[in-house]
Symmetry: C2
Subunit: 217 residues, 2 copies
């Protein structure tokens, strides 16, 4: 339904400065406090995520709160198995550094949120997907990013677990066949706030400069 006309908001310099500060201080959180997050707060974050851009306004994002203890344990086992296989790809010092990184907040985070893209959604009527069908998944990724920013603004931390077998997650969560796993998120109050990425603090990978990322043709 189209909303009645409304004056567009003005975003001033003070807001833009705070917004950049939000980008700077958004972290991939792996260390959580175990106290619960209010359910209303989580629903509010998902609602904000649903304001993200999507191809043809298809809104393909599907959020699944994983609450069942057995399912959470199955996801944890999935991660452990995938992590072990991933570790075998690294040798020597790097492997040691890797092992030191606490890669999963799965045990401590009070909220597990799996995010999917519904590949067969009828919303949007297929618009904009003929030559780059992957934009459907990309729309769900944008929603993850939006949720992440909204969470950080509310003092909530998010960690994205990608070392996981996505097909097994779908099976564990008994999701429809056409849903593709985009992200498995751990959510909760962070144990600490940091300005720099954990992987930078751990000496794994520092940040590049604008000249490494911006080109002209």
């Amino acid at each position: 339904m189209t909303e009645p006309p409304q004056a567009p908001p003005k975003f001033d310099a003070a807001f833009r400065e705070q917004l950049e500060s939000l980008f700077v201080w958004r972290r991939d959180v792996r260390h959580f406090r175990t106290d619960p997050v209010e359910p209303d707060l989580i629903e509010g974050l998902v609602s904000q995520a649903c304001l993200s851009p999507s191809v043809g306004n298809s809104q393909p994002w599907r959020f699944v709160l994983v609450e069942d203890v057995a399912r959470r344990r199955a996801v944890r086992d999935n991660f452990l198995k995938a992590n072990e296989a991933a570790l075998s790809d690294y040798e020597g010092e790097r492997a040691a550094a890797y092992a030191k990184l606490k890669l999963s907040g799965l045990d401590d985070a009070p909220v597990h949120l799996a995010v999917f893209a519904d590949k067969e959604t009828e919303r949007g009527h297929g618009l904009g997907r003929q030559t780059m069908p992957e934009v459907l998944e990309y729309s769900a990724v944008a929603a993850v990013n939006t949720l992440w920013l909204a969470a950080r603004a509310a003092g909530i931390g998010v960690g994205w677990v990608s070392i996981i077998d996505p097909a097994a997650v779908c099976k564990t969560l008994d999701t429809p066949e056409d849903w593709r796993l985009i992200a498995y998120l751990c959510i909760g109050y962070p144990a600490a706030a940091h300005r720099d990425p954990e992987l930078q603090r751990a000496g794994w990978q520092s940040r590049g400069h604008l000249k490494d990322f911006l080109f002209r043709r």
Copy 2:
């Protein structure tokens, strides 16, 4: 390089309200004013996008400002061809509605920005990509979403063109072989501000409700 310690910012209720308003008023813009956007402003948006999350801190995003007239024309031709093919998929009323939607701001937008993911970046040392390698592309998508929000906060509009042959864009822009096109963005001052998506205003696709998107297991 790790920054010196700094007190984390506090994001208050007023900021969170403005942030949600930013999510609400971010639009996929197709109608641009033709006056230029200051180059510093564009660089500032790209810098903010580089603060996005990325798997293993791999920062795979690559931004290409398309300035050459012949290259811009080639991208426009690419879009026209892909759009014609896409139109043939629709029939009757829907096709008429589709044709009415101005799908491309390519002609008016002063700035064309192509966004790629560097599939072979050494940054991040492959961390987190073994079971879901597509998270590399997803990291570049997060950067697009961040740029979009920063742009809206600065009064700048962004439109994402996905009806385009990605391989042809790579050829036109002469990008390295390992770069994969994620998004082709039109950027400029919007002709108007809207609260509702253009596709909703045009009767193509309205928004769903939280119950359509949030599930429990």
